[in-house]
């Protein structure tokens, strides 16, 4: 069974490989065809709208919406759990839906609180 599952995924790996095979020549041909004029170092500066770049390109940057990212970490797992339940829905008894509803209720309460926190300003 595990070997069969792996075999199912081999075309995906082939496809990844084929994507690489199709795109690498494009870059190589482009490298061969295109001019290479490297005498002007200003050309290789990072974009700063025509100005000399100031400050770091990679810096500590705080978007105010990290709360959503933390929520995502929790709810992604929940979503996967719901998938396993949904795919087995016809096989399990109907009474088994109730715990799922209870689980969803707990998650909704947690999510409501998290959204309330995320909506508040000044904590990030």
């Amino acid at each position: 069974m595990p070997a069969q599952t792996v075999a199912q995924f081999t075309p995906v790996i082939y496809m990844l490989g084929f994507g690489v095979l199709a795109s690498v020549p494009a870059l190589i041909i482009s490298r061969l065809l295109s001019p290479r004029r490297r005498y002007n170092p200003v050309k290789f500066l990072p974009m700063e709208c025509g100005q000399m770049p100031t400050g770091e390109g990679r810096s500590h940057f705080m978007m105010q919406y990290y709360a959503y990212i933390l929520m995502f970490v929790v709810f992604d797992v929940m979503a996967i759990f719901l998938y396993t339940w949904a795919s087995a829905l016809f096989l399990i008894p109907r009474a088994a839906t109730l715990p799922i509803m209870a689980f969803l209720g707990i998650m909704f309460a947690a999510m409501g609180y998290a959204l309330y926190l995320a909506g508040r300003k000044g904590i990030w």
Binding site: Q8, M15, R36, G57, R58
Partner: protein, 430 residues
């Protein structure tokens, strides 16, 4: 220095064609055929149609082209063909190219413009080729301080990842590169790579605007990942399977869009956000952060990322068709067989005897038509909508779309437990 064209004569033109044909015949007969013979003698080939492919059989194929059809039949059922050509990469890339061209013309018509006109004489049909040539001939500039390996690898990874999504999409019964039992989860797993690539690329380019754009891409995809997941969940509940082919087959009499319109709407909106198309193109918002995470791309790096994103457009609209529009289902408009009785020679080749399958062709036709319709719908917001703002976007994703998906999930559950759908339901097909 001006050069004057030589005097044009039709006879010279004909003569040049004759010369070219002559040279081709000579080269094939003196070089091509011996090489094929050598290959056929020394390389063992799989038996086709009960016969081993030998030079004699090959020669007989030249006399009777119908004899090549078993070979064609063999080839198109190999994994390599499926990956490289038909449901796989080339098909998706062709779809992407058509999408780009149609988008330009369609948008132009919407904006009372003409669009590409000159390149290729007929409505600028070769414009894409010209653009591709231009991109290939452009210098790739890597900003100083950039992380070079990642900078080179990111566009390749982008194309490869979107191709990997395509591998999971069934186009017709049996026509899928990878028929995976957990297909829909695999699709979402692969789609999860895209924010990673965007973030890596923006971090690697050592510039401020890509950095902000990458962060925005991350936030956007995260905000819409959950609605995206959960809207597909309703289709899984109704069909009871994670396999995409099974989900498509399960909607035999009635498409799921009739039961799950809210889910379909949420899925459509989320896939627009996933694709970074207007109105959700804020990772590339050009009036705020120059070009977002694509600011430092140049030449073919930009071209590959565009190719990847249009392949993604195809993949996600195909997914929409499979989940909600019944996949390839549609009235049979192609004849079951093109010819009756055995035909040989050129006629047999034209009717693709033994290869032609009316049902499959019909399925592919309807699939292409539906997918194209969804692609057109995806192009439409670009002409009628301004860009959304990030806080409104996050608010929409988390507060509205998730609630909507749950509403439709409960509707789906009610349909199952009310005995309308599901095994033995009122509306279940056979």
């Amino acid at each position: 220095m001006a050069t004057y064209p030589q005097e044009y004569r039709f006879g010279k033109f004909i003569a040049s064609i004759v010369w070219v044909v002559l040279w081709i015949v000579i080269i094939i007969s003196l070089i091509g055929l011996p090489i094929i013979f050598v290959i056929l003698f020394y390389v063992p080939l799989p038996p086709v149609n009960g016969e081993v492919l030998t030079p004699y059989l090959f020669l007989s194929m030249m006399v009777d082209p119908t004899r090549t059809l078993p070979i064609v039949h063999f080839i198109i059922h190999t994994d390599i063909f499926k990956v490289a050509v038909f449901p796989g990469f080339s098909f998706a890339a062709l779809f992407a190219a058509v999408t780009i061209f149609v988008e330009r013309k369609f948008l132009a018509k919407m904006q009372l413009r003409i669009g590409p006109l000159y390149c290729g004489k007929i409505e600028g049909i070769l414009q894409l080729l010209a653009d591709g040539l231009k991109l290939i001939a452009k210098e790739i500039i890597i900003p100083s301080g950039a992380d070079k390996p990642i900078f080179w690898a990111a566009p390749i990874a982008f194309v490869a990842t979107s191709a990997a999504v395509v591998a999971l999409i069934p186009v017709a019964p049996g026509w899928v590169a990878a028929n995976v039992n957990v297909g829909i989860i695999a699709v979402f797993a692969i789609l999860g790579f895209f924010p990673l690539i965007a973030l890596l690329f923006s971090w690697a380019s050592n510039s401020k605007y890509p950095f902000i754009g990458g962060l925005r891409a991350l936030h956007q995809m995260i905000a819409f990942e959950i609605p995206f997941f959960l809207s597909a969940l309703s289709a899984v509940i109704l069909s009871g399977s994670l396999n995409l082919t099974d989900i498509a087959k399960a909607q035999h009499p009635y498409w799921y869009i009739f039961f799950l319109p809210i889910s379909a709407f949420v899925f459509f909106i989320s896939s627009l956000a996933e694709l970074e198309r207007i109105p959700f193109d804020l990772p590339e918002a050009e009036s705020e952060i120059v070009a977002g995470w694509l600011t430092e791309t140049s030449g073919m790096i930009f071209g590959l990322i565009q190719l990847g994103s249009y392949v993604k457009v195809y993949a996600l609209s195909a997914l929409f068709v499979i989940l909600f529009l019944g996949g390839w289902a549609g009235p049979q408009i192609f004849p079951k067989e093109l010819s009756h009785g055995p035909t040989a020679g050129l006629m047999g080749l034209l009717t693709l005897q033994g290869v032609y399958n009316g049902v499959t062709v019909n399925a592919i036709f309807w699939f292409v038509v539906k997918t194209f319709g969804i692609i057109m719908l995806m192009l439409l917001p670009r002409g009628i909508s301004p860009r959304i703002r990030i806080d409104i976007l996050l608010h929409t994703g988390w507060y509205k779309l998730i609630v909507l998906t749950f509403i439709n999930m409960f509707i789906a559950l009610a349909l199952i437990y009310g005995g309308i759908l599901g095994p033995g339901g009122l509306l279940t097909g056979h």
